[in-house]
Symmetry: D2
Subunit: 146 residues, 4 copies
């Protein structure tokens, strides 16, 4: 999708390693389901440990999905000797997160040398039917490894 923007031939391995090194993802049961240059899809199957007061997915889980799907998507376009960090993001919670799983998709809309901007969508999915629950946009910074 952004072939001209790929700077690390090992982008896929690198992005997967970043995801797998994040203790929070395993603990929340979040999986990296799809990965392309400038794009990532994360999935969080429902469990009561992810709930807010009504038993639905907590907004913090949606925010974590927004944050990290954007970070992994942006990470596919970094250079080999860089790390990727979230600088900021914003989320609008549109509907309660009711469903078997949350699916988050992030798409880079502006790849850059040091700053990359991505848009995110979070869906609640049940029996393959998706409902848009949250949208986000954020900025990710590439920093040279020490």
């Amino acid at each position: 999708m952004y072939p001209g923007d790929i700077r690390d031939p090992n982008w896929e391995k690198s992005a997967r390693e970043i995801f797998q090194a994040q203790g929070l993802m395993a603990y929340l049961g979040i999986e990296l389901q799809a990965l392309r240059p400038g794009y990532a899809m994360l999935v969080a199957p429902y469990r009561p440990e992810l709930s807010q007061q009504a038993g639905f997915f907590h907004g913090g889980v949606m925010a974590t999905l927004v944050d990290n799907s954007g970070g992994i998507a942006s990470g596919t376009l970094k250079a080999a000797d860089q790390d990727v960090l979230a600088a900021e993001f914003k989320i609008n919670l549109l509907r309660p997160g009711i469903g078997e799983r949350l699916v988050a998709e992030a798409q880079v809309v502006r790849p850059g040398r040091t700053l990359t901007v991505a848009r995110m969508e979070v869906f609640a999915e049940t029996d393959g039917k998706r409902t848009l629950c949250a949208i986000g946009q954020g900025t990710y910074a590439y920093v040279d490894r020490a």
Copy 2:
């Protein structure tokens, strides 16, 4: 702090019940440490399960703290027959979350009948010394219970 804005005499019990009913808080080990009208403080002691790729607190944990400290702070000012929901929030991640615990403070800046706006700060704390790690601002909606 907002005595004129308190609409539910049982605001404290109600806000604590909301917090305790959120499965995510217990699962992440987040505690509600202080509560006043229009104000809430949450604390997340460090554990590897909360980490990003470098072992520091994950941005998703900071975002969860921003989201929920604002929600609980706003919840202290709701009416008795209302629920409080996050409508949206934004977070700027200023420094890596390195420390024994994260401390989030939320302060309502604009209480309203249906919409309340709060500002949030997240600190990394070690040996009682705090470093500002993230700032946020968000909108919380009061919805009548069905």
Copy 3:
């Protein structure tokens, strides 16, 4: 586009009147170029009065376009006896605003009874060629007229 969400049969006239009653739009030379239920397009032809320090479109003009395209788009879905107000919005400035005009498009993604959420895009356009300059998302509130 949102036929089921239209609540005021005079939505088009009402939205146009709101736009025309805004002194700032005429002063900045911003035009309402297209209007559909849940959608609005605004255009700002370049003039030096809209510039930042390098002579390009000022970020404040892009933000004004984001704010108001979202407000007008959301206004098409309000009830007849309501006003529409921006509650909040966020903008990412992706590229400098260099061109003959700025074109802003707003699309409602979540129409609601009291809160509506929209996404916005701002393009710099020259000779009919568009470059994405800014993206935004915001929340608009419907308030009953006194």
Copy 4:
């Protein structure tokens, strides 16, 4: 305020020049009223040209003040051979902008080498009495001059 963060001994002259070179500021009648390292105050006296549909200050003017007060405040901490650009910001509109003037204050909360984060407040002021109308937070990027 941030003496250790000043990188350009001519920071004041430079920040004032940036402000004065922005055609939009003169056109909207916005003045740079106070300037310190990491801090800026802008003022917009009321005129009908700055209004929304009810005759109050337009949200676009508040957003412009948020954007630019943060930019000028951040600009005081840049290096001499750098420009400062807004990367993104967010605004919550708390109350209608009713008053003789709008006063915006921006304070850097995290100065950086390439990214600086600031918080902004916009007040409506009449007879010296201030009402908080909007709050914002944003990220500003320092880019080397070509």
